[in-house]
Symmetry: C2
Subunit: 436 residues, 2 copies
């Protein structure tokens, strides 16, 4: 059989003949009449089987199929107010395209709840559930909107290597690779490469790609392989970079709001979905400390120089109730490649963009002067010689530049209120999970 | 200084004041008058320095800068027919933003040719050359156009893991990773994952992401890390999949033709760039053999069952002179997960899309039946148990599906007639090159 003339269930027209193809979602046998609900990527359609009036072989074979089998029906589409979508198909031809076992590890009709590990082990079946499929359709829309926004502000898409000779940040752990007998690593951030490209003739660049972090923590909001949305631009300071990320976040919500009505419906969020307005509050680190301390939620008062614990972030997020920035961090708790203020070497231009429930973005203006940069490597205990491929470019006219990295999964997770970041990744990687 | 009010050199308006910022491309000192050519991502602008009439400090400091230093000038923009862009800036303010060494490892003005290794070692400088920057702006446009086309045919973007427990194809070599003490690999293709997603409710999916191949050959058209454009769709046969890839290739050329006039100009290709018309010839393998043998270019005649050597591909490409498909390959020289024709088990539905100079795409209809698939693993010498996460999903209603993978770098390389695939990657990875 050819599927050239297949019609999606959402596209059938009453009064016309159609061939539909999809999965058997449900069989309702009422005696003289039976209904097969066929599901495809666009929705579901009722197929009416009138046992006494239809070809015996068709009736028998169609009613013999197990749920989740792949089937195809050809017949007339009729209006039927009692059908779930007000139309039904009256079949003349039936084909069992691919049978399914009667025992399924996971029930795509959603009648039996499955734990997350079972779902992750059976993503093919899991993504037949409209509310799971919706997450990934929204994720795709978020990435599309991010790219569109980047282009609207003059950014060029780049792809930087994931196999690298040296780690870019020193801080986080790296996965080692054997590269033709040499030791190499999987890159934990495109940081150094995107800076090298900002200093090229491209000036403003973005990348959406995988990053790899061998961190041991196993929490509902960390992944060992994630998708990072990265920006870097010349002649930007940190506040310009904050404007760009605010624009991206708002654009992503707007795009989902405009283009994913059906998906939000499937997630039962159609009424609850709110597009943030932008103009996110920009708190200084010290203001953030004061407001956290004022909540009285922490056992111990935070003092200048403390990093913010998960608990502190939550207290502040609850207090603020919207996206917000924290800026003007103490230099000592921000990476060395982030520039300090020219008139205040103790204060960094680094910033974080926070969702009320967690950090989404880390960024800042970069150190673009050769000597302080090389000193930074040394102070970090890193050998500047190993990074010469990067530092030497700062001797040949490196403009001031700023940028940030935004976790795609965290953006989707917070947007949709998912309880575990693994729900926003098709095939997550963590300490315990390397397969599928 | 703030760059909030920076104007790109391409956007200056005669009669208005502007602040421009960029790199010193050239200094022409004519005695009483001197010209500085400032370059930014949009182009170049002449700055006129009248030594006797301008502020002495400005004149001295501006004329003291080394080429490729980052500078900023503020002043009036005037029409000047003798200037390269018919306008020039008469400066009132000057700032040396970031100095450059007087000795450069590579000359961005292009007056001194550099070998490819030197260029790759100094990509920041290399991409200041308009003709190199153009390649990567075109590459970005190709990816944008590909995604747009995918969406126009109902595909959802997916991201699949790059760290995997098992290799997907067995044939090509894998880079081993140490993953929390376990052995893992960098994925050489999203093949298995995209199939798992085609069988989900998404049905039609695409991914553009990195692939990693530990193959030892070191040629001008192989990379060890590349960007793959992948498609997989249900209820598609191999000819449907061929239609999709043909659509993508034509859409990419069209987009570049429409949106990259300036870049094609920089590459000296404005007149020579041809958009392929589509309707690429679809040769069977046997027809391909006959035509290759008829050229008389090969020392030995090809016989049925032979794979096509680089030499054979070239002979055929020259003969045909346009993109073309080769289909109906002998089953034995195509991967086991590609389906054979139902009525001819010796012939595979696998196909290749060829540019006259090299292979671009490999694809086919997939084996979607559980038993033949598991047998295929065994015949390949692979342990089906290791792939159970994949094969078991074929028991739960796996529709017929087809797909392909297209090398992004080969697409750009052949489109622009580049001599080496490394010219189409910012930071290529090969046996010798792991840095930058």
């Amino acid at each position: 059989m050819s599927f050239e003339n297949r019609t999606y269930t959402a596209d059938v027209t009453p009064g016309e003949s159609a061939t539909i193809a999809g999965w058997v979602h449900e069989v309702r046998d009422l005696g003289g009449i039976a209904f097969l609900i066929v599901r495809d990527k666009t929705g579901k359609l009722q197929v009416k089987i009138e046992k006494d009036e239809m070809d015996e072989e068709l009736v028998e074979s169609a009613l013999d199929v197990a749920r989740e089998s792949v089937v195809s029906f050809t017949g007339d589409v009729k209006e039927e107010p009692r059908a779930p979508t007000d139309v039904e198909l009256v079949p003349e031809e039936f084909e069992l395209v691919a049978p399914a076992d009667t025992e399924l590890p996971l029930d795509p009709s959603g009648k039996v709840d499955a734990e997350l590990p079972t779902r992750l082990d059976n993503r093919t079946l899991d993504l037949r559930k409209p509310e799971v499929k919706a997450i990934f359709e929204i994720r795709a829309e978020v990435l599309r909107a991010a790219r569109e926004y980047f282009r609207s502000v003059g950014c060029t898409e780049i792809n930087t290597p994931k196999i690298v000779a040296t780690g870019t940040e020193g801080g986080t752990e790296l996965f080692p690779i054997s590269y033709f007998g040499e030791e190499a690593f999987m890159n934990q951030s495109p940081q150094l490469f995107k800076q090298l490209m900002a200093g090229s003739g491209l000036e403003r660049v973005f990348e959406i790609g995988p990053i790899f972090r061998a961190e041991e923590h196993n929490t509902p909001r960390h992944l060992n392989e994630a998708t990072s949305i990265d920006f870097e631009g010349t002649f930007c300071d940190h506040e310009d970079a904050m404007d760009v990320v605010e624009g991206i976040v708002v654009a992503a919500y707007e795009a989902v709001n405009e283009n994913c009505a059906e998906q939000l419906e499937a997630l039962d969020m159609a009424d609850a979905f709110e597009v943030p307005e932008g103009g996110f509050p920009r708190l200084t680190y010290e203001e953030a400390l004061d407001r956290i301390n004022a909540t009285g939620e922490l056992d111990e008062r935070l003092v200048y120089g403390d990093d913010l614990s998960t608990e502190a972030e939550r207290a502040l997020g609850e207090e603020i109730g919207s996206h917000y920035f924290i800026m003007d961090w103490p230099s000592e708790i921000k990476p060395f490649y982030i520039k300090d203020y020219d008139d205040d070497a103790e204060t960094s231009t680094g910033f974080d963009l926070m969702h009320p429930s967690m950090e989404l973005v880390s960024g800042g203006q970069r150190e673009h002067r050769y000597d302080p940069l090389v000193e930074g490597f040394e102070q970090q205990g890193l050998d500047p010689d190993e990074f010469e491929y990067y530092t030497k470019m700062f001797k040949y006219g490196m403009p001031p530049h700023a940028g940030w990295g935004l976790g795609a999964e965290r953006l989707v997770m917070t947007m949709l209120g998912l309880g575990n970041i693994r729900e926003a990744v098709l095939f997550p990687r963590d300490r315990q999970r390397l397969s599928p």
